[in-house]
């Protein structure tokens, strides 16, 4: 009886993946996704694009931007439930800026923002609409920028901020490695997140002086994080050294025990 109970217990664990694939993020459960997934052409397109987006990866669903009631098929697109549909070209910065408040502020102060009414690039031109791309230095590239203007100045901006981007990426990887080893990295992650956000604000300006000043500010903030990471890495290095010594001692102990055993063997 005990045997079969335990047997079943063992097998039960194996099942969880079978069903975990069936479970999904809450963002996938909205009536918007259910209805649009079943349609064809341009009405179905947003769902597939959204699934590849940074929004989907972070559980931001249709209703978070477009409003409406994601639990009620009949009222999903009712203005009474806050549905606002798609914004016009010039409304896009306000549309995205409801969440990305600081970014909107930077954008409006930038050359792109100032030229908005004259057809200047707004958020979705660079970041995409439903397949929203994460803010990254890679968004500044010849192919994208050259659609509207010469790439030369954008290239200079990119070059100026590349080293900070590289540093940030390396520090993020180092923190991820520390986290993987069970180290509580929340404080470091928060600090890097804040630095990353400050750094991203540079992306929306083309004023080189402003970029240099803000870059120096970010670099200053990163020094503390770098030092903290170095401290952890030093501790881990010492741990490995101590572990190596213990392993060697244990191997030595095992070898000595085997030698003693051999001496008994000769007597036998």
């Amino acid at each position: 009886m005990k045997q079969s109970f335990l047997g079943i217990s063992i097998m039960l664990l194996g099942l969880f993946v079978c069903f975990s694939s069936g479970a999904a993020f809450a963002a996938e459960d909205t009536v918007c996704i259910q209805c649009h997934s079943g349609q064809e052409g341009r009405l179905a397109e947003p769902v597939e694009l959204w699934r590849t987006s940074i929004h989907a990866a972070n559980g931001i669903s249709c209703n978070d931007c477009h409003g409406g009631d994601p639990t009620d098929f009949a009222m999903a697109m009712s203005p009474e439930r806050g549905f606002i549909g798609a914004p016009s070209y010039t409304e896009v910065p306000d549309f995205c800026g409801r969440c990305h408040v600081g970014v909107k502020e930077d954008y409006l102060a930038s050359a792109h923002g100032k030229a908005l009414d004259a057809g200047g690039a707004q958020c979705v031109i660079c970041h995409g609409n439903h397949a929203v791309k994460a803010a990254s230095i890679d968004l500044i590239n010849k192919e994208s920028c050259s659609r509207c203007h010469d790439y030369e100045r954008a290239a200079r901006v990119k070059e100026e901020i590349s080293s900070t981007e590289t540093t940030l990426t390396k520090l993020e990887q180092a923190v991820a490695s520390l986290h993987r080893l069970g180290i509580d990295t929340k404080r470091l992650e928060d600090s890097l997140f804040a630095s990353r956000n400050s750094f991203r604000r540079i992306f929306h300006t083309v004023n080189m002086d402003k970029i240099k000043a803000q870059k120096a500010e970010v670099a200053d903030k990163l020094q503390g994080t770098k030092a903290a990471i170095a401290d952890y890495e030093s501790i881990l290095g010492k741990r490995k050294l101590a572990g190596g010594v213990v392993v060697l001692l244990l191997l030595l102990g095992g070898a000595i025990a085997l030698l003693i055993r051999r001496s008994y063997h000769d007597e036998e």
Binding site: G14, F19, L181, G182, Y264
Partner: protein, 366 residues
């Protein structure tokens, strides 16, 4: 030295301890051709001891509360002096124990040591193996991580496939309709009290069987001949054999050292081998992590369930396989133990290992 002799004299005059020690140490003779596989029992005892020790130390700081469990484990790893070492030894040790239990069972199967009169030794060992897995299953939930929560949710959900009592079983295992505080409470109680008590009793019984019946001779060499089992109780003597102590205990000790070296090496250099990334995030009942896989020793079961079209059929097939292994000594009644004279068994044995490994790899990559 004088004090030691005095204590021994005192104990000997009252309990006859010298006679007991001689009978079980220097006077206890083992087969001359005893091999290294026989050390696995001692190695496992050492590892069990380490698990108990590290487990007790973890208990001092662990808080079995859904609001505090993850934080307490984080504190053990980051704030408590050497807490990270204690926890990693416990986690890595549990995985190594499963490896060692599997090797112990495989060596016993290969050498036919499970056969009459050692049916009870095998059965108690097999239950110990299952208890080892139950320890892992219950211990998995305690950190209250994403992995803990979702693994337990789906594992307990599968009990619903059992006909008639399925729903009752799910609720019984969870202590409610879903995984929550009552589940953590009962898994914790099982992990630190229920299972250890059962485990200690079974290990004691297993060792009693081993000592009472006597160590089996390795079925190798020209001198080995299969014996027709005696009809009445018979202790397997090995006249002219090797004294258990110190001749064999020193070999046990060397293997304990080598396995501890492996344990420490993994603990210091690659503890992440047994800790998936989802185990580092606190449980979130509203977010199901993608790509979760069970631990390596459950992968074969996971993949088997994927192969079968229904949950019940999958569970039944696994139950049948485990049941078959449990009662194997009662089915395989031939006294022959030499592998070379048991081609059918050895073929099935190898196929079984290949199936286990193959299903596990398949499960890992599927």
């Amino acid at each position: 030295m004088k004090l030691q002799k005095g204590v021994m004299d005192w104990l000997d005059s009252r309990l006859g301890v010298r006679e007991i020690m001689h009978a079980n140490m220097g006077g206890y003779l083992l087969p001359r051709n005893i091999n290294i596989w026989y050390t696995l029992g001692a190695v496992l005892l050492a590892m069990f001891g380490l698990q108990f020790l590290t487990g007790i130390l973890l208990l001092i700081f662990y808080v079995p509360d859904t609001e505090k469990a993850f934080t307490s484990v984080t504190a053990i790893m980051n704030s408590i002096p050497y807490g990270w070492l204690i926890r990693y030894l416990h986690v890595v040790g549990s995985n190594l124990i499963i490896v060692l239990l599997l090797l112990h069972m495989l060596s016993v199967l290969f050498m036919g040591s499970y056969k009459r009169p050692r049916e009870l030794t095998w059965l108690s060992g097999f239950i110990i193996f299952n208890l080892g897995l139950a320890f892992c299953l219950t211990g998995y939930l305690l950190p209250w991580s994403q992995l803990s929560f979702w693994a337990t949710t789906v594992a307990t959900d599968a009990a619903g496939a059992v006909p008639v009592v399925g729903d009752f079983l799910v609720e019984f295992l969870r202590g409610g309709p879903s995984v929550g505080a009552p589940t953590l409470g009962r898994f914790f109680a099982l992990h630190v009290m229920g299972l250890p008590m059962l485990f200690l009793g079974l290990v004691g019984f297993h060792l009693f069987c081993v000592r009472r019946i006597g160590i089996s001779s390795p079925p190798f060499g020209d001198g080995y001949r299969p014996l027709e089992p005696a009809r009445s109780f018979h202790h397997d003597e090995h006249p002219g054999g090797v004294p258990f102590h110190p001749n064999y205990t020193i070999k046990d000790l060397s293997m304990v050292f080598f396995v501890l070296a492996a344990l420490v090496a993994i603990t210091f250099y690659a503890p992440w081998l047994f800790i998936p990334p989802d185990a580092l995030e606190p449980a979130d009942p509203f977010t199901t992590p993608a790509h979760i896989k069970p631990e390596w020793y459950f992968l074969w079961a996971y993949q088997t369930l994927k192969i079968f079209p229904s949950k019940l059929l999958g569970l039944a097939s696994q139950g049948a396989a485990m049941g078959f292994l449990a009662v194997l000594p009662f089915l395989d009644r031939s006294p022959e133990r030499r592998p070379a004279k048991r081609p059918v068994f050895v073929t099935l044995y190898l196929l079984g290992i290949l199936l286990f490994v193959g299903l596990s790899i398949w499960g890992h990559y599927s």
